[in-house]
């Protein structure tokens, strides 16, 4: 089992995940940062909430699309794949501008009053996360050999059973796809700044401030040390989520 060495540190990381907020607080206490109570945990919450909801929605959309593309042939499929691949490199600030236009008071969704809210941020993260999740899932699904499908059919499985066997074989690739989407969403700063507005309440509880926009704010003010600490929290967060996904991805094998 080649994944075993990865899984062990992953388990210890998983344990530390629950104490992450406390860990962040002790890191803060270590450097004596000028943050108010609840500030760091609230921006971690907003970062996670926005990215996880966006990636979950994106996965629910992308994986079926990838399955459909992986199991059917139709004219223009190559074009659809190129569009998805191009989407992986789509600049996040442009996505932010488009979502801003959509949710702005005068825009098509203006009446929903989504500007400067977490929901608007989720929309832009969804748009950003969907292309990598779809493309990498599709690559994983098409990478499963025809012999696996044939074997499933030969054993008397239906088309759906064959599809599920392929999905099971492709699950690591799909997990990688989800992680890639999550990585893009949580590390992104341009679009969430534009549509979210980087807002905290007067008592220092984040409304639409994420770790990335908080880092940007600290750097803007020349407080590079506090920016670095927040950066370390962000890296720890991404590591933890990766470890959790790898661990659950591996459970199916044992």
């Amino acid at each position: 089992m080649p994944l075993e060495p990865v899984v062990l540190p992953a388990a210890s990381l998983l344990e530390s995940a629950t104490g992450l907020a406390a860990g962040a607080k002790s890191a803060v206490a270590l450097v004596d940062l000028p943050f108010r109570d609840g500030y760091v945990s609230s921006i971690i919450y907003v970062s996670l909430y926005v990215s996880l909801v966006a990636v979950t929605l994106s996965t629910l959309f992308s994986v079926p699309v990838a399955i459909f593309l992986g199991f059917t042939d139709f004219p223009g499929k190559g074009l659809v794949k190129s569009v998805i691949n191009t989407g992986m490199g789509f600049p996040s600030v442009v996505v932010g501008l488009i979502v801003l236009f959509a949710v702005s008071n005068q825009g098509p969704l203006g009446s929903l009053e989504l500007i400067f809210t977490k929901e608007a941020m989720i929309m832009s993260q969804f748009v950003l996360a969907t292309p990598p999740i779809t493309a990498i899932s599709l690559a994983a699904i098409t990478g499963v050999g025809d012999d696996v499908r044939d074997a499933a059919r030969a054993l008397g499985g239906t088309r759906i059973d064959a599809a599920l066997v392929v999905l099971k074989e492709a699950r690591y690739g799909i997990a990688t796809a989800v992680l890639a989407g999550f990585g893009r969403a949580i590390s992104e700063v341009g679009s969430v700044l534009i549509v979210g507005g980087n807002i905290t309440s007067a008592d220092g509880i984040s409304k639409t401030r994420t770790l990335t926009t908080a880092i940007q704010l600290e750097a803007r003010q020349g407080q590079y040390e506090t920016a670095m600490v927040l950066g370390a929290v962000l890296v720890a967060l991404v590591l933890t989520v990766n470890a959790v996904v790898v661990r659950f991805g591996d459970r199916g094998v044992r």
Binding site: T56, T200, S201, D203, G222
Partner: protein, 310 residues
């Protein structure tokens, strides 16, 4: 086969669930519902980086939020962007510092009920060795001309903010067209401009508030003072506040915007502004409360009912 089917779904589901469960554990009372009070409405204020980055708004907003049971979403954007957000109906009230742009906003019908709010001043800051020799100059325009003649590096905000607008007005008044390798537009906030100038030993124009709040992080010094310290009047930096016109954007939160303007121009809040200090220095000087009438604060500069301008 059905067993495998369930396994796949479980793998997909648990991954996302675990992630979400993790995030609810870290909430730490960050629910926004908790901070909303009796009326529970939210006021969106678009403002400049200088009012936000100095910490002033966080300091004073608590008492307004408590008084009305509302929450204030302050979005720090720079004057140009703050007015543009308001123009698009994305904010209820704007607090900015570029009278020319404010007047344009009023004339186009987007803003109503403008009040003078507070002021501080601009200062020209630069490296201590002062390669262009502007230290102590009594004229801001002479200082800029000296910087241009020396070709000494100068960092411009370049972001259509109030400070950028002031800087461009100063160059115009100096009769100098800035340009060339020494003149760098960075397209960022005041803090970024100060950092940038600090790292390359350049001059820049800063509002006094942001400079004071950031002084401990940088090595730049004030070379030309503003009017607060006896410098030229051209470097004054007045802040105004306006409500978004509900006649243009009918879903703007006009009642709350006016409550906010009423509160922030009241003696209590003006005292709070006056008492706000950083590193032992006062950052903003209130000017909304006065015995003498000042009708110019309500209308674009130079406007009168007799002129054809109406």
């Amino acid at each position: 086969m059905p067993i495998q089917r369930r396994e796949v779904l479980t793998a997909l589901g648990t991954g996302t669930l675990a992630g979400l469960a993790g995030c609810s554990g870290i909430t730490g009372g960050g629910e926004e519902e908790a901070s909303a009070g009796v009326t529970g409405e939210t006021l969106t204020l678009t403002t400049t980086t200088s009012t936000y980055d100095t910490g002033l708004l966080d300091e004073i907003h608590g008492s307004f939020e408590e008084l009305y049971g509302v929450s204030v979403d302050a979005v720090a954007q720079g004057t140009g962007a703050a007015l543009e957000s308001a123009r698009n109906g994305n904010s209820d009230v704007v607090m900015v510092h570029a009278r020319g742009l404010e007047d344009e906003f009023l004339r186009n019908g987007y803003g109503v009920n403008r009040r003078d709010l507070m002021f501080n001043d601009f200062v020209i800051v630069g490296p201590e060795d002062d390669p262009a020799g502007i230290s102590g100059m009594g004229s801001a325009t002479d200082a800029l001309t000296a910087i241009a003649d020396a070709g000494a590096p100068f960092v411009s905000r370049g972001d259509n903010s109030g400070t950028h607008t002031k800087e461009l007005n100063l160059w115009e008044a100096a009769g100098t067209e800035p340009g060339g390798d020494w003149y760098q537009e960075i397209g960022g906030g005041m803090g970024e401009a100060l950092n940038n100038a600090n790292q390359q030993g350049a001059y820049t124009l800063s509002d006094r508030g942001t400079f004071i709040s950031q002084r401990s992080e940088i090595d730049l010094v004030i070379l030309v003072q503003g009017p607060i310290e006896g410098g030229p009047e051209i470097l004054s930096n007045p802040y105004g506040i306006m409500a978004v016109n509900p006649g243009v954007h009918e879903d703007t939160n006009y009642d709350l915007a006016m409550a906010y303007i009423g509160w922030i121009t009241s003696p209590g809040a003006q005292d709070a502004i006056s008492n706000y200090q950083m590193n032992g220095e006062q950052l903003f000087f209130p000017e909304a409360v006065s015995e003498d009438p000042d009708f110019q604060q309500y209308v674009p500069e130079g406007w009168s009912s007799e002129s054809s301008d109406a």
